[in-house]
């Protein structure tokens, strides 16, 4: 549908809005609107999109059309179509739909893990192992990412030991995941902690260290992304309009806003491969598909600086 000619970039912006964002709002975006939104994201240069979550529709009716949305996204060549899967059943369905990448939520907080997937962190490592095996059998080219949730603290448990986080990330790689990323599910992270944990993660699992998934709950989202960038992180999850949260983590709100994150990097001369004006335009199908839902982003509201030119 689109060309393979994506511009080269220094960082990968992994858009999680269609999954993380849409599962956090009460309304269900119609399938056609989801598809239009994904098309607009691809037109803006987004190369990796978490398009859906393969969970029982009884739990998250917003994701009932996951397979259909994946099939639509696959019509775009050159992008990585990713889906969240909490268990084997979900992984089977996602692989059957043809995704390029699976992401699994593996929480470092036992309380959050039980609330989110009804399994302990150790049981989730075994789930990673089973899904990696399934992937090897059914679709060996598909990538498997473990997103270590509540890596910087948990609204249920409070502090989460850094040793637990790093150990869990390493266990997921040992179990067959290709990458372990760190998620600030509830917006507790601070830049010093982000630097410390990503440094330890890289020391422990090297190139298997994955994305920084930051929330803006306390306004520190971009500062935390900057801290992760300083430590060598090159993949950043974010959500157009800052949509998102976690339905099973009380107080979790607002992913990092893609528009502001891309502006920060582009202004720094760090190439994202995304076109800011087209990214702002991709807010229209989001707003149209979720009438009345608040959409955030300070750069789209303020506009680009006078004379601002993106590096290419």
């Amino acid at each position: 549908m689109t060309s393979d000619n994506f511009p080269s970039s220094d960082v990968l912006i992994s858009e999680v809005g269609p999954r993380d964002g849409l599962q956090s709002v009460k309304a269900t975006m119609p399938t056609a609107d989801k598809c239009r939104w994904i098309d607009a994201l691809v037109a803006a240069g987004v190369r990796e999109i978490e398009v859906a979550s393969f969970v029982p529709p009884s739990l998250l009716p917003q994701m009932a059309d996951a397979a259909e949305v994946v099939r639509h996204a696959l019509r775009h060549s050159g992008i990585t179509v990713m889906a969240l899967v909490p268990n084997r059943r979900g992984a089977e369905n996602a692989l059957q739909a043809g995704v390029h990448k699976l992401t699994m939520p593996v929480s470092a907080s036992t309380a959050h893990s039980l609330a989110n997937v009804r399994k302990t962190p150790q049981e989730m490592v075994e789930e990673v192992r089973a899904i990696a095996r399934l992937r090897d059998e059914l679709a060996p080219g598909v990538k498997l990412e473990a997103g270590i949730s509540t890596a910087f603290g948990c609204t249920l448990q409070g502090e989460v030991a850094e040793d637990d986080v790093i150990r869990l990330a390493a266990l997921c790689i040992e179990a067959g995941a290709d990458e372990s990323g760190l998620s600030d599910t509830v917006g507790y992270a601070n830049p010093a902690q982000v630097r410390r944990l990503f440094r330890r993660l890289r020391a422990e699992i090297g190139a298997h260290a994955g994305a920084a998934h930051m929330h803006n709950t306390r306004g520190l989202g971009l500062a935390n992304c900057l801290a992760a960038w300083d430590e060598g992180v090159r993949t950043f999850d974010s959500s157009l309009g800052g949509l998102g949260g976690c339905p099973y983590a009380p107080g979790a709100s607002g992913n990092v806003v893609t528009e502001d994150l891309v502006f920060m990097f582009e202004a720094m001369g760090v190439r994202t491969g995304l076109d800011l004006e087209r990214l702002f335009a991709a807010r229209a199908p989001l707003v149209a598909g979720l009438p009345g839902e608040p959409v955030y982003g300070m750069t789209p509201e303020a506009g680009l600086p006078k004379g601002f030119a993106q590096t290419r």
Copy 2:
């Protein structure tokens, strides 16, 4: 009025709300409310407050009670009472009122400088020289700061040459200012630029390098403060509730929110000397004195993380 026993700190948070914030809103806060707000800020541990601007009341009626507000603030011992002065007349009045520190807006953009103070940057350097002389005669203990406005770009002029910024900062020191700080008046700054400019500033004027004054117009306020901290900046201007802007710079909005800035530093283990809960409480007199005015801050809205304890 309060004790001298302020806790030790790693950074100085310079609260600019009563000046920068109040001059940017249409309503005029009653003097008694300003005083209550200042009292609450001091109770939270704020040690430096820009309490007023000494300008003709015909231009900024919100600041007509500047001398009275200064006199009230001076009843607190142990804090630095600062006022903005655009010219000699203002400096005379501020010195007569008894301020501890004067701050002058010296814009690196000629267009903004003319709009703001009807003088070119070079003419403002001469004004700095005259005010420094006045200070030497009348109150030699008083500090004089030059805040280099539009140091990171200008809504009128667009790009501002970094050489111009650094040269202007150095000229102000040569003219008798004690410190030159850098202000992102219109929210154009990015972390790479902040690092580059503060590094150059420090190389050029050493310990005379002053505060980072960041705006959150495009959401990068805290990331820019983090970048400045990394370069050794230890004084940060911010505004309770994010109030502020510049009436003579179109599109300028929102100072960095003091509450979020303090949370970021305290979470990192960087001591601000401020008590977060008391800082949140200092929003009440602000809101009471400016009914209907929007007040920002994500940390006060989200609350502190579970189990969060400030380092002391």
